[in-house]
Amino acid sequence: MSREQNRSPLEAADDHIVAGRAADGDPTAFAVLVRRHTPVMRAYARRILHGTADVDDVVQDAFITAWEQLPTLADPARVRSWLMRITARKAIDRLRATRVHADVTDLEIPAPEGTSPQARAEARAGVAALSDALQHLPDAQRQVWVLRELGGGTYSEIAEQLDTSESTVRGLLARARKDIIVRMEQWR
């Protein structure tokens, strides 16, 4: 992959410096955050959305909200997990919107299986088995598992995001873990 031109010296600085500076209104620093965290935000959104084509829109929306809210970020060094939380919110909003329109037009365009970035990622066996198990989970279980395990969300955050109760989240998470473990054992 060829390196882009016009790289900022800020690329070498850590998130504490870069996010602190972006919060002060420096678009150059914000561009560095965009470059640095786009891949993980895309990957995360892709896992939540599961085969819809809205990943880029979700990540773009997340960054625009992040720019507006950066001054409220207490610890700039933790910008990555903060961006992940915003990504989750945007992805879930998107899912809701899609669900409403689902019977009008078919907005869910499944990603072509073999060529998705996830498919390419599955080099190592354990990761591949986990990825496979996730694909087979029912939507609600998969969303809860992804928000918890990949996003690091708390039970109450996830309950709020999915508009449900904490006990439902716990139940779904336990079932998701059970299903994943059983399927991964079979995969071996």
Binding site: M1, E4, Q5, N6, P9, A12, A13, D14, H16, I17, V18, G20, R21, A23, D24, G25, D26, P27, F30, V34, R35, T38, P39, V40, R42, A43, Y44, R46, R47, D56, Q60, F63, I64, W67, E68, L70, P76, P117, Q118, R120, A121, E122, A123, R124, G126, V127, L130, S131, E149, L150, L173, A174, R175, R177, K178, I180, I181, V182, M184, E185
Partner: protein
């Protein structure tokens, strides 16, 4: 408990009857609490131990999955970055208006907090390798003559004596702010947040 040598037969048993009455939800909580305080009823149950191990394996694998997914995503190109930058309001963080006192009647001059931060950041151009992070103003910048303390985070290059570098930076900031504002700066507190090894210039032309 006569199945010691055939763990495979029980490996998929994740129902309460396989877990001596415990549930996966309970075991997940136990694992998240670092298996503290120890619960002998769980620790001494072979079924629970097998389930705990499987849960632990899964927990270790999750960040690896995210890392592998992220690695498989294309590197964001300039057009993607531009697409996002074109959607943000560049003046979103201009902040408070800082008055500039001038010895002229009826003049009302001011500069935004964001612009002053920009001035502070620009001082890094005079000190190669220094990168300025967040800056804060302690004191009411909207009232002329109020004492204001400036705090900032910086990243510095490896190999350069830090005290001298910080003194030069403080001096630069002082000069710039005196030239462009009428702020009454009482101190510039600089926190060196990290030290970076600069890329070897001989490796630049790859």
């Amino acid at each position: 408990m006569n199945e010691h040598d055939t763990p495979d037969a029980r490996i998929l048993g994740l129902e309460p009857e396989d877990l001596d009455g415990h549930t996966i939800e309970e075991l997940s909580d136990y694992l998240e609490a670092g298996c503290r305080p120890p619960d002998p009823a769980i620790d001494e149950s072979p079924g629970c131990r097998i389930a705990l191990e499987a849960l632990e394996r899964l927990r270790r694998l999750s960040p690896e999955l995210l890392a592998a997914d992220a690695e498989a995503e294309p590197e964001p190109d300039d057009s993607w970055v531009q697409r996002i930058l074109s959607g943000i309001a560049l003046d979103a963080h201009s902040g408070r208006r800082i008055p500039i006192t001038v010895p002229v009647a009826n003049a009302d001059l001011g500069i935004t907090e964001g612009a002053v931060r920009g001035l502070i950041r620009a001082t890094e151009n005079a000190l190669p390798g220094v990168l300025i992070g967040k800056s804060r103003f302690d004191g009411d910048v909207t009232v002329p003559g109020e004492p204001v303390r400036i705090q900032l985070d910086v990243s510095v290059p490896y190999g350069e004596p830090i005290p001298g570098l910080v003194d030069r930076l403080r001096h630069e900031i002082d000069v710039r702010l005196r030239d462009h504002t009428t702020l009454h700066i009482t101190a510039v507190d600089i926190t060196v947040h990290d030290i970076r090894r600069l890329p070897d210039p001989t490796e630049e032309d790859r």
